[in-house]
């Protein structure tokens, strides 16, 4: 791989699905309409914790509806997120609940010719519950003698008991922690509380399912993984996979909320199979609010440091509130340890994580998967330690951070690799210049009603879950690249693009590898029957892993192409190059030393077809064996109105080390979007539950989760994004990831900026005006 000038990568262009999206022509799951299609509605538990005594469907059936209850669904316990390897998959749910474990849990479902009739049928269902004590808060759920939310769960081939509602616990200890703290001159211990925010993706979870005449099904779902959805549906409904076809449709945002197969997908399949006709299920916003949230955590963190600013030991205790189902608590506890271990070098560390079931909406990954939580705690405490040592936080962090040559835990302890590209120092230097770091006020020195402060936090996310050997997490992907008879190219890739431009990046990587113009590379519409496996678009792996697989396939297709070119041109394949010709609109195969020998890719492909030489196509799969960190640094300036507690973002400088920037304009968009979601996490957003009833205090109103609006985004003049000039040797054309990294350190940067502005540390998210006013009052 060389750093030659590039034709496709690094150039901005209209995204391939852009015209469809600005004209309303793009198809999302909820836009799919099929002949004879019925509509479904789901009956959801009004109780946080209840046994289901009986369900009477006669009223609904009298209206002509088809009904689905626990009695109808296969008794297959599953885990909806099959990204962990089988020994680490905790299975605790059925298609419809055997017991209500949170308000909004799906109890029964109906399908009818119209949505209005389905809604009437839903209201005609009669369910008798035995209401149990709602265990809404972790402390209550862990209390001795508390009712088990799940008595047992399925792990591998065994039912394992759940004690004290602790779904899973994990302890990791490295080095001599006692000796490490003894060596420290300064030891600080703090507790951080992070909030349980809602993904707030624009599209509610939706699905259409059509039963096929051969007994199979075709499914159009909201998902981040068509193949994992297929495998789960095959497992639950006992269908051979060649009869389960899952179509890729555009998804209206997800941010982690569709890594798992969404709960409505198998419900819709069950209804369609029973009704023997296509069924569409589009959830309401209120239902969606009760379907998924970010993991709420309480993090106890203790760090020891020498007088000269060298970390000696750390102890982290994590309590994660996972809600009513264990979607991915074991990997969460693993990755949180990994993010912590990879931020700063700790000669000795002890990590104790516990995940507790509660009677609330199940938690799942949300942009960063445990990383925003860990980064909030670690970057806040590092700032405080620097203050205690009277050191510049940048200098203190640079002295301790895990950089080039260090070990990075990309997905917990089983996914580790050596860092080969490191833009962290550059990001800190450039960001500090842009924000005017050296001129920031002394902490708490500002006076008057409006007080400004500057804060900084750094971090990263992994690029993929790649590692030298398969561990606890699957990372596998593949692509088919074929060259058409006019020199254009089809890329057949199962990967989902959530909107960040993953598939555009993949097209550019293929164009670059083949030497054809980027606008002659198309992304094929796909489904599970026409693609090789890709695990899921998560872990910031789209470009790094998905792009690498496409590059590998393109490289082999190119070798086939050049082999045929040798036949036609009489020049050795190794002497031939392919370069895009803008005037011809395709690649030209030629030998620089023999200028008269040249042929276009299209002419050669046509010759291959007319002469029956063979197809120019290649399919390749790969498992990444590295997981390079994509570093990100945030500098933010806030202004606090000390009379109202309102916080305004006046300036922000966000730097990303994503290696080679493949889509410059979309990469900027990732950072700007990361700031918005991070600011929401830091300052506004929360999904609060009534501790007694287990209901959302918002009662299903989206506005109450306080997603930032356009009025909250910082002024354009104050917003800067920039990229480190790095090259990742293991990535496609030097690229690594960006997406989740873009938000991870943001909340800590805000907390540090507020500490700078007010001289007050906030350790509980969100840092609302109420909390700011209370803290100002207390400080007076």
């Amino acid at each position: 791989m060389s750093r030659r000038p590039m034709n496709a990568i690094g150039r901005s262009a209209w995204r391939r699905d852009g015209v469809a999206k600005v004209t309303g022509a793009e198809t999302y799951a909820s836009d799919v309409v099929l002949p004879r299609m019925w509509h479904a509605r789901v009956l959801r538990s009004p109780y946080a914790h209840a046994r289901i005594e009986s369900i009477d469907t006669s009223g609904a059936e009298a209206l002509g509806a088809v009904c689905l209850t626990f009695a109808d669904v296969p008794k297959v316990k599953y885990n909806e997120r099959i990204v962990s390897t089988p020994p680490y998959l905790y299975r605790d749910r059925y298609v419809l609940a055997d017991k209500a474990r949170h308000v909004g849990e799906a109890i029964a479902a109906v399908a009818a010719p119209t949505e209005a009739l389905a809604e009437r049928a839903l209201r005609a269902l009669k369910v008798e519950y035995e209401v149990l004590e709602p265990l809404v808060e972790p402390a209550r759920a862990m209390r001795p003698g508390a009712e088990p939310i799940h008595a047992t769960v399925r792990l591998a081939d065994a039912e394992v008991p759940i004690e004290g509602n602790i779904a899973v616990a994990r302890t990791i200890e490295l080095g001599d922690v006692g000796a490490g703290f003894a060596e420290a001159a300064v030891v600080l211990e703090r507790e951080y509380v992070t909030s349980r925010i809602y993904h707030a993706q624009m599209e509610t979870k939706s699905v259409v399912c059509r039963p096929e005449p051969d007994g199979g099904i075709t499914v159009w779902p909201t998902t981040q993984s068509i193949h994992n959805t297929r495998q789960l549906l095959g497992e639950i409904y006992g269908l051979p996979l060649h009869k389960v076809n899952v179509k890729r449709v555009a998804i209206g945002g997800t941010f982690g909320s569709s890594i798992q197969m969404n709960s409505v997908i198998p419900i819709c399949v069950g209804l369609a199979l029973k009704a023997r006709r296509p069924v569409k299920l589009v959830t309401t916003r209120e239902e969606d609010l009760y379907d998924h949230v970010r993991y709420q955590t309480t993090i106890g963190l203790r760090l020891g440091v020498t007088r000269d600013g060298r970390l000696t030991a750390g102890h982290m205790r994590v309590l994660a509130d996972i809600g009513g189902h264990n979607i991915q608590a074991y990997p969460l506890l693993s990755v949180m340890a990994g993010w912590w271990a990879s931020l700063y070098r700790l000669p000795a560390m002890k990590y104790e994580g516990r995940a507790v079931y509660t009677n609330k909406t199940p938690s799942c990954a949300m942009q960063g998967f445990g990383n925003p939580q860990v980064s909030f705690a670690v970057e806040s405490l590092m700032d405080e330690l620097a203050e205690a040592l009277a050191m510049d936080p940048i200098e203190f962090k640079l002295r301790n951070y895990v950089g080039l040559g260090g070990t990075f835990w990309g997905q917990g302890p089983s996914v580790q690799s050596i860092i080969r590209s490191d833009g962290a120092p550059e990001l800190l230097r450039v960001g500090a210049e842009k924000i005017g770091w050296s001129a920031r006020p002394a902490a708490g020195s500002a006076t008057g009603r409006y007080r400004r402060g500057v804060g900084m936090a750094r971090g990263f996310h992994t690029s993929s879950a790649g590692a030298p050997k398969p561990g606890e997490v699957i990372d596998y992907t593949g692509a088919l690249v074929k060259i058409n008879e006019d020199g254009s190219v089809d890329v057949v890739h199962a990967m989902m693009d959530h909107g960040g431009g993953t598939l555009d990046a993949i097209a550019k990587i293929v164009a670059e590898e083949l030497g054809v113009p980027a606008d002659r590379v198309g992304i094929s519409p796909v489904d599970t029957r026409t693609t090789v496996y890709d695990v899921v678009t998560h872990a910031t792996r789209g470009v790094y892993a998905g792009g690498a697989a496409a590059q590998r396939a393109a490289r082999r297709a190119k070798a086939i192409l050049l082999d045929y070119a040798t036949r036609v041109l009489g020049i050795e394949a190794d002497a031939l190059v392919i370069e895009p010709d803008a005037a011809l609109g395709q690649g030209v195969i030629h030998c620089p030393a023999v200028p008269d020998k040249r042929i276009t890719v299209g002419a050669l492909a046509k010759l291959c077809q007319t002469n029956s030489w063979g197809s120019i196509a290649a399919v390749e799969s790969l498992r990444p064996v590295h997981c390079p960190p994509a570093f990100v640094t945030y500098f933010v300036e806030v202004e606090v109105d000390t009379e109202t507690g309102a916080v305004t973002t006046t300036r922000a400088a966000i730097g990303s080390d994503c290696g080679t920037v493949v889509n410059p304009d979309l990469a900027r968009g990732q950072l700007e979007g990361g700031l918005s979601k991070g600011a929401g996490y830091a300052l506004y957003e929360d999904a609060r539950w009534d501790a007694e009833s287990g209901e959302l205090l918002s009662r299903g109103f989206w506005i109450d989760s306080k997603v930032p609006a356009m009025s909250e985004s910082p002024p354009l003049a104050g917003l800067e994004t920039f990229f480190a000039t790095t090259w990742e040797p293991t990535g496609p054309f030097g690229a690594k990831g960006i997406g989740e990294a873009a938000t991870n350190p943001c909340a800590a940067a805000y907390a540090n900026a507020l500490a700078n502005a007010l001289g007050i540390r906030f350790r509980e998210l969100p840092i609302t005006p109420e909390k700011i006013l209370a803290a100002l009052q207390a400080a007076r």
Partner: protein
């Protein structure tokens, strides 16, 4: 109970039989097949369903179809003319203001209405006018850039209504007009 209504959808008069309680959003999506208009919340919180009624941005999830009898309805499908994108659509693509795309139709309709009334809005005008349209992907910066960029470009869209004079009375609703 069903009622006949007559609405001009993206320039074409349509006579439709609609239920008295049918929402404009559902009539557009299901009866007219105009699925570009999106359901995001159903209760006016997110703006994804925004269409223009006689030039005004309106939440179609909160609007009864019978209430727009006789009106001009423009959806995202009506922005491009003869396959030529509206300058605002082009600006959205040029500034990479489209990610997942689910908020995009509503954003476009709200922004087009702003630009037709205020051809040279300030950044603050854009933020004030569009704060009812949620987007979770972009952080809004690229959308603000797109609207300001579209305002900068020469030549407006052919279909856009002339901006009414300040203080001019709003056109009345409900009275059928001839095509």
């Amino acid at each position: 109970m069903r009622r006949m209504i007559r609405i001009r959808v993206n320039g074409e008069w349509r006579e439709l039989s609609v239920a008295g309680n049918a929402l404009l959003l559902n009539v557009l999506r299901e009866d007219e097949g105009l699925t570009g208009t999106k359901y995001g919340c159903g209760i006016g919180e997110c703006g994804a369903c925004t269409v223009r009624i006689d030039g005004e941005p309106v939440l179609s999830c909160l609007t009864l179809a019978v209430a727009v009898d006789g009106c001009e309805v423009q959806t995202v499908e009506g922005l491009a003319v003869d396959g030529r994108l509206d300058p605002l659509q082009e600006a959205m693509l040029d500034t990479a203001a489209v990610q997942c795309g689910f908020c995009t139709p509503g954003m476009l309709m709200t922004a087009r209405a702003l630009l037709d009334e205020t051809p040279a809005p300030s950044e603050q005008d854009v933020r004030d006018h569009m704060k009812g349209n949620l987007c979770r992907c972009t952080g809004y910066a690229s959308i603000v850039r797109a609207v300001l960029e579209a305002a900068n470009r020469d030549g407006g869209p052919e279909m856009a209504p002339k901006p009414p004079a300040l203080g001019a009375p709003r056109r009345s609703r409900g009275a059928p007009r001839t095509p």
